[in-house]
């Protein structure tokens, strides 16, 4: 088990590094960074000064190593815009994004798991088809538009929920639902197919031959085996949700990491952008690692 962990960790570190290099290179190479920072009205002299100041004339590798070295020590640079350490900016906004992500995941699981199980148990019935249709609708729904529609409906017309901001916990409900919608189709399908497979297995026949109750057969014997891929996908979906929080946070004006990233991108505040990409990549990789570990925990056969 320990060897497994070590190999996974080293692979994860390698992936992380690659992602960083790629994003670093992208930002430096896609255009003239100095020109973007200087703004549209800058003269050539201004651009030259900025290039010098930010060390943008050094070789790419040197720039990257310099940044990476600082990052390893926890110094993610200073924001061009706010002139404060980037880490501080991220840290302040992290709770909102994390809460949002976890809320979205919780709602997604609460909806997808029971519906997926129901669809599997009633496979082929009208209920099954109806549930699958819901999954299809969720997949096609543009999240940002759905958010806007909800704001108009629940915030404006019915006035049940706040239209933006997170002063109260109700502020997380609508964005959480929108976020959940992006994960529900995948989770629902996976639960359903996993349960269908599990229910067709020989050990279910044995369980029935033992006279166990229907509920016990479905929820104890089948679900445990079906749950394994669902759990790992759930962790991965959380990663996606955190990565995609940009859109939702802008729609609902939530002061989270995603909104910070978007702001920074539009205002060319690249130290922040770089740091957020690093941050999200690390979280995603950590979550997939977690997913693997949970898989091993749930399936005794994987424990070696």
């Amino acid at each position: 088990m320990r060897l497994l962990l070590f190999r996974r960790l080293s692979l994860a570190a390698l992936v992380c590094l690659t992602v960083l290099v790629v994003s670093f290179t992208l930002t430096r190479v896609s255009g003239d960074l100095a020109a973007s920072i200087a703004g549209p009205n800058a003269s050539a002299a201004d651009i030259a000064i900025i290039t010098k100041n930010y060390g943008l004339d050094r070789p790419l590798v040197v720039q990257f190593l310099d940044w990476a070295g600082h990052a390893a020590k926890g110094d993610l640079g200073r924001s061009f815009l706010y002139h404060v350490p980037v880490w501080g900016l991220i840290r302040d906004r992290l709770p909102v994004t994390l809460t949002l992500g976890l809320t979205g995941l919780a709602i997604a699981l609460l909806v997808a798991l029971p519906l997926g199980i129901l669809a599997a148990v009633r496979e082929g019935s009208a209920m099954d088809r109806g549930i699958m249709m819901v999954a299809l609708l969720g997949q096609a729904m543009p999240g940002f538009w759905f958010g806007l529609v909800m704001i108009v409906l629940f915030g404006l017309e019915l006035q049940w929920l706040p239209i933006s901001g997170v002063e109260t916990w109700q502020g997380y409900i609508m964005p959480g639902i929108v976020l959940a919608f992006s994960a529900i189709p995948a989770l629902m399908r996976l639960t359903r197919s996993g349960m269908i497979d599990a229910l067709a297995a020989d050990y279910i026949r044995t369980a029935r031959a033992k006279g166990l109750s229907r509920a016990k057969i479905v929820l104890k014997h089948a679900l445990r085996n079906a749950a394994m891929p669902v759990v790992s996908i759930a962790a991965v979906q959380l990663g996606f949700m955190l990565g995609g929080s940009v859109v939702i946070e802008s729609v609902f004006a939530l002061p989270g990491v995603g909104y910070l990233a978007w702001e920074s991108i539009t205002k060319n505040d690249f130290p922040v952008v770089q740091a957020v990409v690093l941050f999200l990549a690390v979280i995603y990789i950590a979550l997939t690692l977690l997913a693997d570990m949970m898989n091993a925990l749930l399936d005794p056969r994987l424990r070696g």
């Binding site: 690659t18 994003s23 255009g31 099954d128 299809l136 543009p142 806007l148 996976l190 991965v236 999200l280």
Partner: protein, 297 residues
Amino acid sequence: MSAVVIAQDVIKQQLPARRRLPAFRHLATLLGALIVGAALLVAIFAPYLTPHDPFAQDLNLRLIPPVWMDGSQPTHLLGTDQIGRDYLSRLIYGARISMLIGVLTVITSGVIGITLGVIGGFYGGRTDDVVMFLITCRLSIPLILVALTVVALVGSSLAVVILTLGLLLWDRFAVVARTTTMQVRNLDYIAAAQAAGASRLHILVREVLPNIANHLVVVATLEMALAILLEAALSFLGLGVPPPLPSWGLMIAEAKEYMFFSPWVIMTPGVVLFVLVLGINLLGDGLRDLLGADLRR
């Protein structure tokens, strides 16, 4: 690593629901085909279908509601936007943008993904390890952020969006191509071709590709839907297709300021977007059943 987990997710998503009633399936697929077909026709024949120039502004005719509400005008069936441009015309040209982006992105990402996947799946071993590593890296990149960044740096344009999305959305192609190639690789006719002295390239193109094509077509439809949704999101955030081009996402963004006064402004492009993506998904699902692209066989 967990690309395997993702692969499982993708594969499971590719599995058709068993015992689905044929009638319902065919109906849904037909609906999907109709929607996609209509979108294609509208996109191609846009100049002949639009009643007005989608870029023509008339500040005297701002925010006229659509025909089913009071205050509408018969010349503008779906009303006008905040600077007087005919909504219906913009919607029709928006279809053009969406379809163009969908098709071109899928071609780009398809070429990249399929090549990687087939190579990894066919050669196995170290090569496959590299391919899996690349896929894992790609999956670890926060998609929207990187796309936004690139567009912000290079400048928004249709071409940039297509290229960016194309260079980023190849992962599912790669995973499915890889898995199916691995399944096909072990079949007898591959060994027979190798024994007959066929070159590797020949085998890949003439033997492997035709047999995995079914699955890839299904992936292509799903990726197309995803590309269209992503472009809409990017444009909504201001870093996709630039104004005054009538991307549906951009139209929703522009309408956002007025949504509290005239909610219908955000409805129409959103509904159309939703319907198109739904249609593509229905078509994709139906193709999967019809082509028998069941990855488990």
